[in-house]
């Protein structure tokens, strides 16, 4: 091979082609991952901004910052943007998109064009919704409960629903791509039980996306038709049942919670093993519990409806299943902790993120048990207790995992190292800010503070003020990485191919990787996380 040809082949995916079309029409999964990262970050800060205004409003018991309608629109924006445009696509579409082919030793995803199209669908759908929400306002909350959304909310509900409907296709496309890639494009020797847990997690997530998202689409179609054409499937005036909407909605939206958290679990498994310098405790258990969560996650949606008027027996069944779904999560928490046993622990910023995740996930997970317990749920349902619970899972755990993962693979993605000290500061700010924001919400939830309240009895003010102050700290925890990661793009130290001496195929190639990921085909001969061999080499 001539030197020029070799150079071209080994040229990094970042250095070849910087015209607009090289990015906007790229089918390289790594570049699509970047497109996603940029959109998702924008949506994240938009949703975060809405949250900050909400927290500002709640500093005082009166509605003195924004009007009641504006407040309702704010939490709707916050919910819609964070759930559909940030949490669901976050890890799969950024880290997953970038890493899944690398981790299985493939040149690209199975359907690269579909992958690019899914980004366009996502971005167009997202921008459409945002435009609708900002110009005319939507105040239904992200749950779009009927009959409020169909008959009483007189704003751009249809536009928002359409946007969410469209974005669903991007989820489905990603899911199909990941499943097929995992099944069909693994490197020789990479058997199922040699796959990194991150791949397992994304595979399971994709299954959930593929099987749950269409139901959301169907539900949204019915909702749109009901609102626009008077087809009243959920309309109590026509003998319809608004609870049916909740069944269909939560059939998607509860598994959606697992779409959000499973990839986070995958990321954390990678981080903890690497910085403990040993293999994960109970690899098979970890992989199977990921699958178990994704399947059991489909059987528990009714726990969102304990007080809604579903039948007593349905309530009992969903409660029982909800306890079951907590079991694999408990196993995972235990295994992460046990992985530390007899390791060589390095407390880098990434490790701090990972351990924060374990702590926050434990709290969030255990309060899930409170909510699965029927008698307690009746009291705390639709209060701040629930708000705190799902933020512990989806923000505390998931976003922490996402940012941690972003740090861990940052050298791989960009070829640059980030400033370690600042990263540690940010990780601590995030942990402290998060707990300060959301722990008080557990307390006020049990004390009886309902959610989605703009004004509230004065008694709760002290807790609300704590929470709002925490949100300020949390904002710093999120903004800091944005600043220093961008800084590192230009001024960061150049990264070697494997700065953490980590296991996994993605570390065998250059940082950043060449266009087709690997210069020569990879084969796998051993189990994942073989840190003993790496350290003793």
């Amino acid at each position: 091979m001539s030197e020029a040809a070799a150079n071209q082949a080994s040229e990094s995916y970042l250095s070849s082609g910087w015209r607009i079309r090289d990015w906007l029409l790229t089918t390289d999964h790594k570049r699509v991952a970047w497109l996603y990262t940029i959109s998702i970050t924008a949506f994240f800060f938009l949703g975060g901004l809405a949250a900050l205004v909400i927290r500002l409003e709640l500093m005082t018991p009166d509605g003195d910052v924004v009007s009641a309608d504006a407040y309702n629109q704010l939490f709707t924006i916050h919910g819609v943007v964070m759930v559909w445009f940030f949490l669901i696509p976050s890890i799969p579409n950024t880290l997953g998109n970038f890493l899944l082919p690398l981790m299985v030793g493939a040149k690209d995803l199975a359907f690269p064009k579909l992958n690019l199209i899914s980004w366009y669908i996502y971005t167009v759908g997202g921008l459409f919704t945002i435009a609708a929400v900002i110009t005319s306002g939507v105040d239904t909350g992200w749950t779009f409960y009927t009959p409020y959304s169909t008959q009483f909310a007189d704003r751009a509900v249809v536009a928002a629903l359409t946007g969410v409907f469209v974005v669903g296709f991007s989820s489905i496309a990603t899911g199909i791509n990941f499943i097929v890639t995992t099944h069909k494009m693994r490197a020789p020797g990479l058997t199922w039980f040699r796959l990194p847990l991150f791949v397992w997690a994304n595979y399971a997530t994709s299954l959930v996306m593929v099987l749950a998202t269409p139901v959301l689409s169907a539900t949204l179609i019915l909702l749109i038709l009901e609102r626009m054409m008077g087809i009243g499937i959920f309309d109590p005036a026509l003998g319809g049942d608004p609870i049916l909407f909740q069944h269909l909605f939560w059939f998607y939206s509860h598994p959606a919670v697992y779409i959000m958290i499973l990839p986070g679990m995958g990321v954390v498994s990678e981080l903890i093993t690497c910085f403990s310098r040993k293999t994960v405790f109970g690899y098979h258990g970890m992989a199977l519990s990921i699958l178990a969560i994704s399947v059991f996650g489909f059987l528990v949606w009714g726990h969102h409806m304990f007080v809604s008027g579903q039948s007593l027996y349905a309530g009992l069944m969903f409660s029982l299943f909800s306890f079951f779904v907590a079991l694999p999560s408990a196993i995972k928490t235990f295994n992460w902790t046990a992985t530390l046993y007899k390791g060589k622990l390095i407390f880098s910023a990434v490790m701090i993120y990972a351990l924060s995740f374990v702590g926050l996930f434990t709290i969030g997970g255990f309060t899930g048990i409170f909510l699965a317990s029927l008698a307690v749920d009746v009291h705390v349902h639709d209060t701040y207790f629930v708000v705190a619970h799902f933020h512990y899972i989806m923000v505390g755990s998931m976003v922490t995992a996402y940012i941690g993962g972003l740090h861990f693979w940052w050298p791989k993605m960009t070829g640059r190292m980030y400033p370690e000290l600042w990263a540690k500061v940010a990780a601590l700010a995030l942990f402290i800010g998060f707990n300060l924001t959301f722990f008080p919400q557990y307390l006020m939830g049990y004390a009886g503070m309902p959610r989605r309240y703009q004004t509230y009895p004065e008694d709760f003010q002290i807790l609300h003020v704590m929470s709002s102050l925490g949100a300020g700290v949390l904002a710093i925890g999120y903004l800091l990485p944005l600043v220093y990661l961008l800084w590192s793009l230009r001024w960061g130290k150049r990264a070697p191919p494997n700065p953490w001496r980590a296991a996994g195929l993605e570390w065998r190639t250059d940082s950043p990787p060449p266009k087709h990921n690997f210069l020569e085909p990879q084969t796998v001969t051993g189990p994942p996380y073989d840190y003993d061999t790496i350290d003793n080499k």
Partner: protein, 339 residues
Amino acid sequence: MNDEVAPYLPEVEKGLHLIPTQATEHAGQVDHLYFALVGASAIILLMVVGLIAFFGFRYRAGNKTANRSNLPSTRTENRVEIAVLAAMLTVFMGFFAWATTLYLDGYRGPEPAMTIDVVGKQWMWKIQHPDGTREINALHVPVDEVIQLRVTSQDVIHSFFVPAFRIKRDVVPGTEKTAWFRATEPGEYRLFCAEYCGSFHSRMLGKVVVMDRGDYQAWLTRQGSGRTLATAGKQLFEAHGCSGCHMGKSSVRAPSLDGIYGRSVALQSGEVILADEAYIRDSILQPDKHVAAGYEPIMPSFAGQLTEEEILRIVAYIKSLQPGDWVKASVNGNEGESQ
């Protein structure tokens, strides 16, 4: 808090209670379960955090003295996992049994002493007692009696939530659900709407007043006497010429008043106000204060012309009016149902 709802805020229960007042026996039982759950999670959380801290210190990379040999075999790992699984399963099933038993107790209560109807509506609670007494955003009940609530909604889904009783029931249009409680402590307790229901969701508040049985009877009687008051009020209403404008066949000059009590009224200023007693009273004494949308502010003030007692009677009369009591055709313009 918003002026509109201020009168309905409970007097008692001021100050932050992390555990809300236990006003029923059920509340105490729920709290026991809650404490047990908090205890269990605290233990587990401490174990996790403790292990992380302990391992973190012991097996830190710099510590060369730690014994890192003899890692557990896969088989040992599996055994440990199964043990953890079994332990958690036991704990979880214990909590499931406990929580479910408690829930079942609370689901179908004993034979109720009375059934009170509750209707949720944007953004108020309408309550009707068995004897026909009606009230808004307040629920008066006798202590130590099993009260069954029959709840429904007129528009969107609301949720009837009384933290002090640890009960919550979604109020779904088109269906009728029940909830029950037996309050053990006299007092006033907060009533919230817990399911998001639109613009003024956070102002859909009320109170539950638990009274001694005698007080409750006295209260009912006072409300009931409204009927004789209303008859007297009707004469005053006609004598003072109110009926001339308000009761005309086509109420062009003034809004019709039948069924106005408890409704939301759209005002000229664009606001929406709840037609409660205070509103009716204000409208008699200061007609310019809240002018109904679509009408000129032409009504004279009756301040000084009516005694307090006379005002009470007129208010009682207007409160007693039901929609359609007057000529149906005259009900227009002032419907003012918000949204």
